[in-house]
Symmetry: D3
């Protein structure tokens, strides 16, 4: 077996917990009523088929789902997490008790479909930006706008889709957002953050060029350009470059109202990242099915 | 306070658990770094504003989120769970510590946005069917294609949007689906289910009219018409009516490939229900924000 | 190994959780003090012996108990879940570290004894009804009167004993019970339930024949005949048959005060089911022991 | 409010956990379907009525059940935990939303019925022994033969019924039972236990008088007389008294096959305790109902 | 009540969980045996007294401990989290049921003593550095060498003691440590980290000056100087300053073998931070007691 | 593999839970960022090296940590739990994926370091007492002053270090401590405890010789001599011996202010046990590292 790539998979403890919760909600109180309708001894081979082209994600969750239902089921993937797959591709095989496979099927597919849907949407945005802007196009960033309870899984799916992870949660870097700025100014806020949280990323949300200048001067590590047009973004990029900080300048993030359609217009602005909550909270599932073969 | 309507809200234990998990993933390991950047004594009033017209859902989760962060925060809703609201509507108020409000904000909005998104999509389908078919149009049904871990919450949001809940999980009624039918026939399967699970709903997936006839004869309580055109559905409806069972005939469900666009073409087929996984697994969020006042 | 029959076993996630909780309450805070009194290297063979005739249930829980204590212990069952066994029958073997076996013994036996006790009581009622009424005798139904925390396990034990499962919980079908009827009438209640919960079983509790007639007219799927004598039950059966619904008539349940002694008097009433809370909440344990052989 | 007596109640954390689990198994996945059938605004008063004479136990669990469903429900007890109550006694009142009361009712009653059943059985044995033996009769002891997951609750119910708690689990005192004695002798075992676990109770199971003599000589704190007749018990009592240890002699426990019927024959043997697993694992529920008033 | 300062307290969800676990391990299986030995109606006033001078931390955990045992207990603090207190200072009051206070006492004190011990040790190091180096002395940093399960609480105690938090866990910033460098070089590792994890802190462990130069050139945000003497540190500081990056130079951390005794020798090296695992994993408790007054 | 000695290891369920919590706090929300910086296919051999002489403890936790991260990692110990090891000793080996090893490393070492630290401190006290008092020296006892959440693990480490476990928690034996004695007298308290909790250890805290006499007369099983000098202890020992109870006299515990330095002065007092909270709540870690070899 090839060693799984830790970059594209969610951590195992998060997978185990998410699967256990999903099975509990699907099987409480008395289990799968329909499981007893097929012969207990019947065995089956089944195939995961991606019915619409997209990016595969969630394989670790799907494997774990079968494992928690029946340790005797074998799951084998023929496409890697993060692979771009054509419609009709068989991406994995399952073999074992027919009854157990039927019990696990929907939960496994719910994980696969949702996480592949996220990865697919991310990949589409990555590609659209690259097509429009080449290697200098902004990279794609997720947000904290994730489905409650699935943060670790969705953030991994973003990576599998070729995107990058913004901060994981409130506990890993500092952001001064609009609502914080009702209580503290940028310069004071950054200074206080630098004092309280040495070495951590300090990220400031800006709505106007003057704020960008203030944030650069305050020493921010990253600046969120909120709801700006491509022209406004370019102006802010220029302001930041003018500060002469070279590689150590703040990273610039475009945020607010980005869609697959309008993203290319930002591809040559010189900003570093484009973030979008819809990657995780509005991605439709990728249609993946499990076909019984025997 | 008016008594909450138990039909549109998820059960409290599911709300408490989902919120606790969501906060743990947003605050582990060391909490909200940015919370200390605003004055500890600062207080704020804030408003939930629905930025795009839709159906409000998830209020119980949002309230619980603030409560778990800080029992001193007051949350007050001015629109009911399930209310249809115009863009720009203020649907609720929050008052308390600014720092606590900022910590809870994103998690509360993630619940509200996702669940309102589900309710909004359901309502759109309900209305489209009603517009095309009047009171005899099929009602809208959800599926088990829910986001893992959020079954109870999404099923409540479906109800808040005017839809109905299909079976909650594998443990509440019997379905003989295509993959089961690789292991047992319809007549035998229904008979075995009736014997093993007296009084439970027995639901059979049919792809062809002959299967519908067999399912009716076998005594099925509900029949899923899989991937049929409106004409095929009408033929099956006629076959079922021909059985002369009156009100005690099986309930008929249209399933497979239903979209907001094509649903109206099924509105006058005489089927009872239209189900769609996309209501829960592909609904984009409804854009709801929290604006600080003062 | 033969494939376990999913009908008679509880779902694995429920087994794992119940065993983990049982071991935690038996071993917190510092484990089995007495485990260190036998030589660490000592190994043993042990046998599960049923000391009083009955029905075996709970084997999956017992196996899991040993597995959670020590993965090196082998457990092998020589009687199936649901088997009727004579006094003195050896039903299973355990082999491994003596110390580990002693630590797991009581918890494993608590599961086996309790669940076999339930199955045995169910089987006695099933047999008594069959003896008195032949194949037309009512079948045995459990209730929601289960031991808190053990719903899934006890409901499986009922199936292992030859009984059937009534609704699993408040979330799988609708019941209008006496206390609901203080707030809504039968006809209105059934209509509202049919509207809100399409395709779900609607079950009405009736204390008088007029209520039965109303429930049939309202379209109930099942009717609970509360605390009626055999004669009253027969009268209600006749009323329902008179409605001319054939196989699609409501299922009739006898409930209230049923005992092993009086059940046979209901065996020829024509009702479908007899339910009794005492099957799960008042069954004495079946005496099963673990004898060390070496 | 009078302060609850900590001796007869289970610890709060165990109550909270047991209730949360019980509600989860009764309400997963989508809550109480029937709750929406009564008017959301309807309120009710209800009474807990003990229908058969017995001992009340489980009030803290019942209160917690209502509290977890709806914090607006008031619960008020008119009989104390451990009270001996006549058939027909109203022991408590509930007031609040009708819908919430109906949702909580069965779970609350399952706790009350089971725990009161345990307490009632204990009280019957306590009284039978006292009637036969007066104040010198053995006191009643429970065992580790409890229902999995309910150890804390059942042990509290034993105390509420006038019994005493044997060791709580494997972690609080040392027992050398028959299966241990396959691996170590009494004298060596007690010595090793005394060395490893200073100050802890060391309890030895004996099947023959010679073992009792050995256990006394070894310094055991308590001796279990396994499956002995009253005469055999008396002989063992005499042997222990002959050791001349006065008040510091080992405590003597009668165990094995004790029933309500045969217990009185042991009442004047001079033993200290009579233990019986059936107090906790085979007690039928006490019939307690909740009657809606108005 | 003054608003608690979110900077010095651990997040509430972590407090609730830690307290629940601590109480479960102290009260399983059957609760506080000794609680029944004092009169149930007895009430008491008690005082938390710090017996040795130090820094107070853990008040939120102590309050929560009493709250989980008995909601009727009032806890009132007269010193703030993070306060420097003299021996003999009364820092808080508890009032309520004597029995409940005795049950909660030890667990509350275990939290207070441990977390105050951490805060006290941190404060001692902060003060020693300040005394030797004034405002330019390195600040104190914790590590991931925390007690398993108490990360959030100990990191908060570090803040209460005047220290700063290094990364919270493996998920918030990137570190290339010696063992990573067996698999990848500094320049490549930083470049890969910058690509995969935009905007995150990238921190490199260096054992030699050449590595420091490489890390600066690679664009590291922070550099750990491993096991260096003050002279070696000064040389590295100079190398970094020579890079001419001004305020945007990497932050420099002294790590390895730092003690309260040798720390002052690093106070004027110009490094930014001094980290020490012993702050959290080897701090002795601060002696705090609870004295009953009545 | 040799069978693990159940006396020196914590129970497995406690190990699994503690490790799962520790990994969750180190990997939430998105896992080990740095894991992707080394080649996914890289494998490594690593060694656990004890850098300072001490007693090894926590091996079961360390093994479980690697197992939960990656089941493909092999862990092999070359020293036993409880072994006294010299500085520089290799005590175990790890082999498997480099990336997985790096992810697990710190958590595994946190367990090993802390628990070995406890064991080492215990062993030092055991040896100091033995050196001063020979085989009649008091044995070493722990207390309930443990780190919250780690009771089972620290108590096992005490045993691994050659100490003995005092009561595990509030639920295993009765103690009448100073604060209880504000509510009840010794004689009455012991009598009440003996009545309520037959066969359990009853332990009384005494500050003065008169109390010791009263406790002996009351029938206490163990007496805590609080904060007494060696002379006072000797006087109390004499008082107890004078009672003429021989081997059945109460066990005598020295408690309060015991340190490694002053403990030898108590070695010949004739007391049975010396207890110290600092063994568990103030032990510095033992320095153990993981060195990559490849």
């Amino acid at each position: 077996m090839t060693q799984p790539d830790p970059y594209v998979h969610p951590p195992l403890h998060a997978v185990r917990d998410a699967v256990a919760r999903a099975l509990a909600e699907d099987l409480t109180p008395i289990g799968d009523l329909s499981a007893a309708l097929v012969p207990a001894a019947a065995r089956a081979d089944a195939e995961f088929i991606v019915r619409v082209a997209g990016v595969l994600a969630g394989t670790r969750c799907a494997t774990e789902t079968f494992r928690q239902i029946d340790e005797g089921i074998e799951v084998h993937w023929t496409a890697d997490e993060g692979a771009i797959v054509a419609a009709g591709t068989v991406v994995g095989h399952v073999r074992g008790s027919l009854s157990s496979i039927l019990t696990a099927e929907r939960t496994a597919l719910n994980f696969l479909g949702h996480l592949s849907g996220v990865a697919t949407r991310v990949r589409a945005l990555v590609d659209a930006l690259h097509d429009a802007g080449g290697i200098d196009a902004p990279r794609v960033w997720d947000t904290r706008k994730t489905t409650p309870g699935l943060r670790a899984l969705e953030k991994a799916a973003v990576r599998a889709g070729g995107g990058r992870n913004h901060r994981g949660n409130l506990s890993d870097w500092v952001m001064l957002k609009d609502n914080h700025l009702t209580g503290v100014g940028i310069t004071d806020g950054v200074a206080r953050a630098r004092d309280l949280w040495p070495a951590r990323t300090i990220h400031v949300e800006c709505e106007r060029p003057e704020q960008v200048v203030e944030a650069v001067g305050a020493g921010a590590d990253a600046i969120l350009l909120d709801n700006m047009s491509p022209q406004q973004v370019q102006e802010c990029v220029r302001l930041v470059h003018d500060a002469g900080l070279g590689r150590r300048r703040p990273l610039l993030e475009i945020s607010g109202g980005v869609t697959l359609e309008n993203a290319p217009s930002y591809a040559r602005t010189g900003a570093d990242m484009i973030s979008s909550g819809s990657l995780t909270n509005s991605a439709p599932v990728l249609d993946i099915g499990l076909d019984i073969r025997n």
